[in-house]
Amino acid sequence: MKRRKVDLQQAPVNAAKGVDERFQAATPLRALLNKVFPDHWSFLLGEIALFSFIILLLTGVFLTLFFDPSMKEVAYEGAYPALRGTEMSAAYESSLHISFEVRGGLFMRQMHHWAALLFMASIVIHMARIFFTGAYRKPREANWAIGMILFLLGFLAGFTGYSLPDDGLSGTGLRIASAIMLSIPVVGTWLSASIFGGEFPGHLIIGRFYIAHVLLIPGGLLALISVHLGLVFKQKHTQWPGPMRTNTNVVGERMFPRYALKQGGFFMAVFGTVALMAGLFQINPIWLFGPYRASEVSSASQPDWYVMFMDGLVRLMPNWQIYIGDYSIPPLFWPAVVGLGALTTGPIFWPWIEARKSGDKRIHNLLERPRDNPERVGIGAMAFTFFIIATLSGGNDVIADKFHISLNAMTWAGRIGMLVLPPLAYFISVRICLGLQQHDREVLAHGVETGIIKRLPNGQFVEVHQPLGPVDDHGHPIPLEYGGWVVPKKMNRVGALAPAVKGFFFPVEKPAEAPVSPGMPPVSGDTREEITSGRK
């Protein structure tokens, strides 16, 4: 029996006990510490969006300390000589103030803008990963829908954000936004007048966009991101098929310590990348654009990249106006309102459409390799081709200028390409998927090509195949079943390489990691006798 005394080592234990007595935290905390996460590089794309969002919140708060969301006309008297004496809005003046007279302000502004571009880019790439692997299938349809809404909110956050400085470029964007509202049948003029508080541009819009940009939209983003992550937690992450992995388990590592540490490291790497970009690559140099004037615009006026697809659609739209009696629908309505609406809300319903089409009501926790669902890949390829053509068309004047192509030719190329290339992409990607499938089956049936040519007694040359599984009495491989995961197709993938030769710094030849899960011990030279199909 130890003597009781004030024991410093015992203090945290007592504190923890005290907390648990009040909050009963022990069991849920243990479950959290122990939670198993599957690991694959493609599962980290969404994390980039999350980390960019955190950077956006941090830098955004800094910017609000200096920004003045007012359209009051002032004469500039700041540090940038080229604009001194120019009449401008207080919003633009304070943006210039942040850029020139706040220590590190320009750095923060550029970090905010780059993080916003990265946020949207990682959302799109993350969505592509989800789509092409079928991760949205039951029970995760709702999270797919939330993801689409997050994209739309991010789009609005971006648009309201780059309108705030009230410079020449963003004012032009606002003008187009007003025209888009005007194009809506019946309520267009009322909508525009209500949002701008009268005639464009009025004196209210920057203040209204400001509250939307710093409170309403980030509030929505924060709430939906919480639900998004909460659902990932609750429903547990999907995993790739592979050894030991089934639809009813999760194979990976526990959240603590390793997984959480890797997340933290990744966050810092993303943060560092954004900081590097913010320091080295200039973005949105508003002082070159001057204050917004309704009469001025320069060529190559482009929005941020994630709005360019809409701008491209607007450029490609033929001038078809629909007249209904005394009223009419301007062509701007179709790409900018119907197009944007359909492209951002239509995909929300995809999980249910696919499930209905295939009559699939099962729960899917295992991902599908893209090649195993050619039709889905085809549709995705079609969508992305459309998106890319629209985005490129959003900068078709710059392409025309740099490559000395006629501007009209670029427009026509976009119009025709938009109709012709997506079906072509569908066809090509489906064929590629089928080809890859066939090759997988071929290797499973015949084995891996060894590159060894054997001459038979009758003079015939044959290539020797290394069977992946057992062989029958004649030495022919018994065909293996496909397990939904990578089939080794090269000899070094099944551990045929000799033990690594040591170099001065690194091994000259590294034994390739076998394409099996971390569950299998790494294939090294001395375990070469065990060759499996990658399926237990």
Binding site: G171, R175, W190, L276, A294, R315, N319, T411
Partner: protein, 368 residues
């Protein structure tokens, strides 16, 4: 560091955690069992303790942490001591933002790599399997919850059904409160675009109504009026209504392009204008003025191509032919640019003899 390959049966059994013989890891494993986790491998990535490989990894990670610290110190140093105030010309202050970016970027990136290397190279390699439970709650749970909800609905719903007075009172009480929430939004936010005497959708600064009934002069951005000889042949000028704030964004629909055409082009333009009901008599000599606001999305259609007599809008590439009433000939615009009727007052300055006869700016549903 331990290496364990558990056989499944061993992990199934509950252990008594008060047993003093249990190691800490045994207790952790009991927790894993309770969370339905089977730990397959948990093995050090190094052979033996203090191996050469391990020492090298530790050195590298330490180096990365040190780089992170140095980068952060460099950031602080640059932030405090580097000249940062903007000056014209090539000065040291030009490098302020890049230096902040490089130092902070290197610092954070090294920190990230250090943590990643620590997790990936130093911590034991692990494979665990946790069970999932999909497919809803047990059926009896579903039934109990469903019945409970039905019970609640019955209590409230039937209660209201049986008591007509309550039903009416609830309806009468709640509906106006709902409207109260909507009232300030609708009443405060909704603006009628057609309420003004000079409706905003159809009026620009060139309307004599904006100038006390007098004709409005064409002015430069600084407000100075323009004589015909100020615009050379083949030249063009952006003009604004000569009224207070006429050149500001308050009159965002008013910027106009005044063009002095060459004689042959002027002839063509005049023929086209005279043949048109709206544009008849709107030119003055060889001068023509078109609204600069694109009829497509409202950008200034300001790129004037003298050779082909086209106006190009740089936003969506609509092109308008000046010699044919600014008819759109390419791109998404459907409507021509409105022509401003020109005249010259007794002092010899350009005036607009009336407002634009066509609606200026982007198109909308009820445009006449």
């Amino acid at each position: 560091m331990t290496t364990l390959h558990d056989d499944a049966t061993a992990t199934q059994k509950a252990v008594d955690v008060s047993d003093p013989r249990l190691s800490r890891f045994d207790i952790v494993k009991e927790g894993l069992r309770r969370d339905e986790i089977e730990i397959i491998t948990y093995e050090s990535q190094f052979q033996g303790t203090n191996s050469k490989a391990e020492k090298r990894v530790v050195r590298n990670i330490a180096l990365l942490f040190i780089i992170a610290g140095l980068g952060a110190l460099a950031f602080l140093g640059f932030y405090i001591w580097w000249p940062w105030r903007f000056e014209l010309g090539e000065t040291l202050s030009d490098f302020y933002t890049p230096l902040l970016g490089i130092s902070l970027g290197v610092s954070l990136f090294a920190l990230g790599l250090a943590i990643l290397a620590w997790a990936k190279k130093l911590l034991p390699h692990e494979v665990s399997i946790q069970a999932r439970h999909d497919g809803g709650s047990p059926t009896d749970e579903q039934k109990i919850t469903g019945q409970t909800m039905m019970f609640v609905a019955d209590e409230l719903g039937n209660g209201v059904q049986r008591r007509p007075l309550l039903k009416g009172a609830i309806g009468f009480g709640l509906a106006p409160i709902g409207l109260v929430a909507a009232a300030p939004l609708i009443g405060g936010l909704i603006e009628n675009p057609h309420k003004d005497e000079l409706p905003i959708m159809y009026t620009t600064g060139f309307n004599p109504g904006k100038n006390g009934g007098n004709l409005v002069r064409l002015t430069r951005e600084d407000g100075s009026p323009i004589r015909p000889e100020d615009v050379s042949t083949g030249g063009q000028m952006t003009v604004f209504p000569g009224i207070p704030h006429g050149a500001t964004n308050e009159y965002a629909d008013s910027p106009t392009l005044l063009i002095h055409l060459r004689a042959d082009d002027a002839q063509k333009t005049r023929e086209a204008a005279e043949a048109d009901r709206r544009n008849q008599g709107s030119m003055w000599g060889d001068y023509v003025a078109y609204s600069k606001i694109c009829t497509h999305a409202g950008c200034p259609a300001s790129l004037y191509e003298q050779q082909t007599n086209r106006l190009l809008c740089p936003c969506h590439q609509s092109q308008f032919l000046i010699t044919r009433n600014a008819q759109p000939i390419f791109g998404p615009a459907t409507r021509r640019l409105p022509m401003l009727p020109l005249g010259v007052d007794e002092e010899g300055y350009f005036v607009a003899t009336s407002d634009f006869k066509d609606t200026v700016g982007p198109d909308f549903w009820e445009r006449p």
